[in-house]
């Protein structure tokens, strides 16, 4: 009986494709790859798409960006699935460093959180400079059924920060017990759009807000310029002693690039609608100390000392 020629052809094509992919994989692995785990709030701003190609050209490397919540980004680093993390949640960062999986935490840039909500402002928080008081009013109005609040509920830096404010008020909000508290479980952009649809309040970082502003017709910035709303981002390297196969050298190069004068300047120049999204922090020792980086000067010295 004849062996169908098409079957043989299909098998040959199959082997060729697999071989091709394997070869391509081999080729692409010639360029060193740096895996950066970061937060959606940084990624969604588009800043990395502007910054990283400049680094890649200079260092002949390829940066793969995994964009998730801060909690997951740190977990990815802890498991050794990334070389470097760029996140914003002080407590999670410190426990990552304390566990010795992460090393050389350094503040790199900052922006600030803002409370946004419907222009009609049913909770009456407009122009407050005390974010805790604003949260209290939203909660109070929420119980009366006049206001709702959308939470990221994804263990992201923004979410952790939001929960910190609630805990200062002695509240542990949850969708289950409070009808006014909506746990979205999604990224910042989605949460902003949900808030816009529902006429809810939410806490956001300024950069994402600026990126989405045009789509959020019914919303306004209601609370800003509260000192505690400052939102600093940190770089942490994955400990090469834990994962010797990771690209530690690449991670170091990327970190050095971002905290270098050139990198800091590039960050400051990244603007949307004429507004600066992230402000340089790495070389402002005093400000960094205030924002929770007591070792900033030591770390900066350490990074500057490392050979590129």
């Amino acid at each position: 009986m004849e062996f169908p020629k098409t079957t043989i052809a299909a098998v040959i094509i199959g082997i060729a494709i697999i071989g091709g992919i394997a070869y391509e994989h081999y080729l692409s692995s010639q360029k060193p790859i740096i895996v950066l785990a970061t937060t959606t709030s940084v990624y969604d701003s588009g800043m990395l798409d502007y910054l990283i190609p400049k680094f890649e050209n200079k260092h002949h490397a390829e940066v793969h960006v995994i964009s998730v919540g801060t909690g997951q980004a740190i977990e990815i680093g802890r498991r050794g699935d990334a070389d470097i993390v760029l996140v914003h949640s002080k407590n999670l960062e410190l426990s990552f460093v304390n566990s010795t999986y992460g090393i050389h935490r350094i503040g790199v840039f900052y922006n600030d959180f803002i409370i946004v909500g419907p222009a009609s402002d049913p909770a009456g928080i407009k122009n407050l400079t005390n974010s805790t008081e604003a949260f209290r009013r939203i909660c109070e109005r929420g119980f009366r059924g006049d206001a709702t609040f959308v939470s990221r509920a994804d263990k992201s830096g923004t979410n952790m920060f939001e929960l910190k404010i609630w805990s200062m008020l002695g509240i542990t909000p949850s969708n289950k017990t409070y009808a006014w508290y909506i746990e979205a479980g999604t990224g910042m952009g989605s949460v902003l759009r949900i808030s816009n649809e529902k006429g809810s309040y939410t806490l956001t970082d300024r950069s994402t807000w600026l990126s989405f502003k045009r789509q959020l017709k019914d919303m306004d910035i209601l609370v800003q310029d509260d000192k505690i709303l400052t939102n600093p981002y940190a770089i942490i390297l994955v400990n090469p002693e834990k994962y010797p196969n990771r690209n530690y050298k690449g991670a170091l190069a990327l970190a050095k690039f971002m905290i270098s004068n050139e990198g800091q300047e590039l960050i400051a120049n990244y603007k949307k609608n004429g507004e600066m999204l992230f402000k340089p922090l790495a070389r402002k020792i005093e400000l960094a100390r205030e924002l929770g980086f007591p070792d900033q000067s030591n770390e900066l010295a350490w990074y500057d000392k490392q050979k590129p």
Binding site: M1, P4, V11, I13, G14, I17, I18, I21, H25, V35, T40, D44, D49, E62, H64, V65, I66, S67, R79, G80, D81, T186, G187, G189, S190, R193, S211, F212, Q215, Y243, N245, R246
Partner: protein
């Protein structure tokens, strides 16, 4: 003017890159899935494991149950399992495959194999007895009869492959976890739609959605034509 031009180019280039990657990942997964799934489905369809012995029967039943369970496997669960296998501290960590197209191919392969196996199994099962007996009775050897059954089940087997490809190309949860959705590297049509929607880039999301729909439409068109031919005969 120059700037706009450049933007246009990268925009198209990225869409092309995303589309090709989707086709490559799903195509490879389904191709390997077919190479694995068709023989297993054939063996199960022919009842080669269905001996008189208790053990072979248990193997047959177990395999069939596994196939049926895995046919409805939630992609995100597969993605999670692949992630846990490939993560640096996981059992296959040293291969360094996490967040690569290979990881996505593995994820979709795990979903494609049961689909190809299951559909092949039922396609062969439905013609196996009558065709085999007719072939034997016309003087075929067992091997010739088996080839004839395969030949008669070809429409069903082709359907199996197309169905698996359709499932793979429209899958999102699994490859998001295993592939990491890295721009230019592991971003496919479906994961790009998720990300662009989150970013509020609805123009790009819709463009990608239309491409995905077109691919799905072509797949279904092919399937309908094949089935129509089958009916006409």
């Amino acid at each position: 003017m120059m700037c706009e031009k450049m933007f246009e180019n990268t925009f198209l280039e990225e869409i092309l890159n995303i589309t090709l990657l989707s086709l490559k990942v799903s195509g490879t997964a389904v191709l390997i899935g077919a190479i694995i799934g068709i023989p297993i489905g054939t063996a199960l369809g022919f009842g080669w494991f269905k001996g008189k012995m208790m053990l072979t029967r248990i193997i047959d039943l177990t395999l069939k149950s596994i196939v049926n369970t895995f046919m409805g496997l939630p992609p995100v669960v597969v993605g999670l399992v692949v992630y846990l296998l490939l993560t640096t501290s996981g059992p296959l960590g040293p291969l360094g495959l996490l967040y690569t197209p290979t990881a996505m191919i593995i994820t979709q392969l795990i979903m494609a194999v049961p689909i190809v196996t299951g559909v092949t199994m039922s396609a062969i099962g439905s013609v196996e007895k009558t065709v085999r007996e007719r072939a034997l009775s016309l003087g075929a050897t067992d091997r010739q009869a088996a080839w004839t059954v395969l030949r008669e089940a070809r429409t069903g087997i082709l359907t199996a492959v197309i169905v698996a490809f359709g499932a793979a190309i429209s899958e999102v949860g699994g490859i998001m976890i295993a592939g990491g959705n890295i721009r230019w590297v592991t971003r496919t049509l479906t994961t790009a739609i998720v990300v662009e929607t989150n970013l509020g880039n609805f123009d790009l999301a819709i463009t990608l959605g239309i491409i995905l729909l077109s691919i799905a439409f072509i797949i279904n068109l092919a399937l309908t034509i094949i089935q129509f031919r089958g009916q006409k005969r």
